[in-house]
Homo-oligomer: 286 residues x 2
């Protein structure tokens, strides 16, 4: 397994693989790897000749009040995990390598309903930061396929839109959320939670499951379902709701009434203690 901090060497290496007609699978990460990331890496390993994982905590997707400096970093453990998964190349650049002082004038921005609401409201700089760094990484790695988790549903939809709009020559693969035994979605930020908060965090998935059960029972009113979810979430300790919404899973536009044939996404963001957690559940209405 190669570990490269340099854009130029990484680009040359991946370029050479592509030139040989090899399939290159790419998993962009911010490190602090968990089973969610590893599910992406394993799928990439199955489907491609070479697997590249980037480990880069991207400053431009954090607002000044957010957790860039405290975001968990554990490169030695990440490296061991990726070695076990038979990854071919870790691209692990410094911030200066990715954003040289005198040069970061260019941004990529995806507008429209996909990025306007939900996390786009709470974290206005987030999606621009992600779109720009992912465009850079795509140009460096030039992957055949790139793998993203469904946990960041809005991010995944945005990346698909960007790839379509800018004609990137690659396939975006979205994979299901990986959960702990008690239902909590895997997230690097779970490491911030105290034992008490970790217990409270279960309410996110519980509220999603409750909403699913209501919908399968025939409940049509989104406002009713959402208010039940909010009540449940607020009953847990140290929770503060950012958003609870039901949207179209294609367009991310709000849905008022559950209707046949819809593909919906129940999406939530909740602060547990000071930690912002997100989760979601996709449902195909029959």
């Amino acid at each position: 397994m190669k570990i490269l901090p340099s854009i130029g060497e990484t680009q040359s290496c991946c370029h050479e693989w592509k030139r040989q007609g090899k399939l290159v699978g790419f998993v962009p990460t911010m490190g602090a790897l968990h089973q969610g990331h590893l599910s992406l890496v394993r799928q990439a390993r199955l489907e491609n000749d070479f697997v590249v994982v980037s480990v880069f905590v991207n400053p431009t997707q954090f607002a000044p009040n957010e957790d860039f400096s405290s975001y968990p970093r554990n490169f030695q453990q990440d490296q061991d995990l990726l070695q076990t998964e038979k990854v071919d190349l870790i691209f692990a650049p410094t911030v200066e390598e990715v954003y040289p002082q005198q040069h970061n004038h260019t941004i990529v921005e995806v507008s429209g309903p996909i990025t306007a609401g939900l996390c786009g409201l709470a974290r206005p700089t987030f999606f621009r930061g992600v779109a720009t760094v992912v465009a850079k990484l795509f140009n460096i790695i030039q992957p055949t396929r790139a793998y993203f988790g469904q946990k960041d549903a809005q991010q995944l939809a945005m990346i698909k839109q960007m790839v379509f709009d800018l004609n990137f020559d690659l396939e975006v693969v979205g994979l299901p959320i990986v959960r702990e035994k008690d239902g909590v979605a895997m997230s690097s930020r779970n490491a911030y939670l105290s034992l008490e908060q970790r217990k409270s965090a279960r309410v996110l998935f519980q509220s999603l499951e409750m909403a699913k059960a209501r919908i399968l029972d025939g409940e049509k009113s989104v406002s009713y379902i959402v208010s039940e979810m909010k009540q449940m979430i607020e009953s847990a300790e140290q929770t503060q709701i950012d958003y609870v919404e039901i949207v179209s899973s294609q367009t991310f536009e709000a849905i008022a009434t559950i209707q046949p044939e819809q593909r919906i996404l129940i999406v939530i963001a909740v602060y547990v203690g000071g930690t912002r957690l997100i989760d979601n559940l996709q449902l195909q209405i029959s």
Copy 2:
């Protein structure tokens, strides 16, 4: 010579060339080809195994009040010229192919001094439209080298910045302005000029030459040189100045005093009749 209107087929074709380790030269154009474009095509022909020319009048770089609908289009003649230059592939998509109705949410934008002034002031949507379409074309063609004319100096600098910032794996080649015998810079928009206006248009290059002579004579004051240029331009029939400036040719920041070792760019935009013409002259101060 292939002529392809489809993004998918063009991408496959160029992708296959790259896979074979061939060098692909790319010249993006809006058609209405003249000797300026052909100088780019010839250089691309010399330096690469395959040459691709795109012919696409990009609507997103025109403001509503600009000349998108009347922009000269002469595809049969373009095709004949490119055949003579032994071009391998013309990519000639429709607007709908490049911007499908439901999908154009993503923009690429280069901020900072390169795009803020000069044409960025007169045409606020222009650079965003160019950056976005060129990013798309780069992803479709995946060229080894892309060729742009120095006549659009600000556009060339912006593309170089975008390629650097977004880590596109290609080289941007800028080539000198090609001029008519009387000094007028080749431009597709020269076709809009009446005989009378065509005569007036000579004042652009004449004012650049005059400024160069003043500077070589030792004149240091930019405001003096610019006011002399403006006087000269205004003395010609049917002219209206948009801007006359002297800037750093690297940063496009305004220069107040000519100093040793500077690389300067004298840039002008002038309406002649209703037609907006631009021109520029690069100078290395010794």
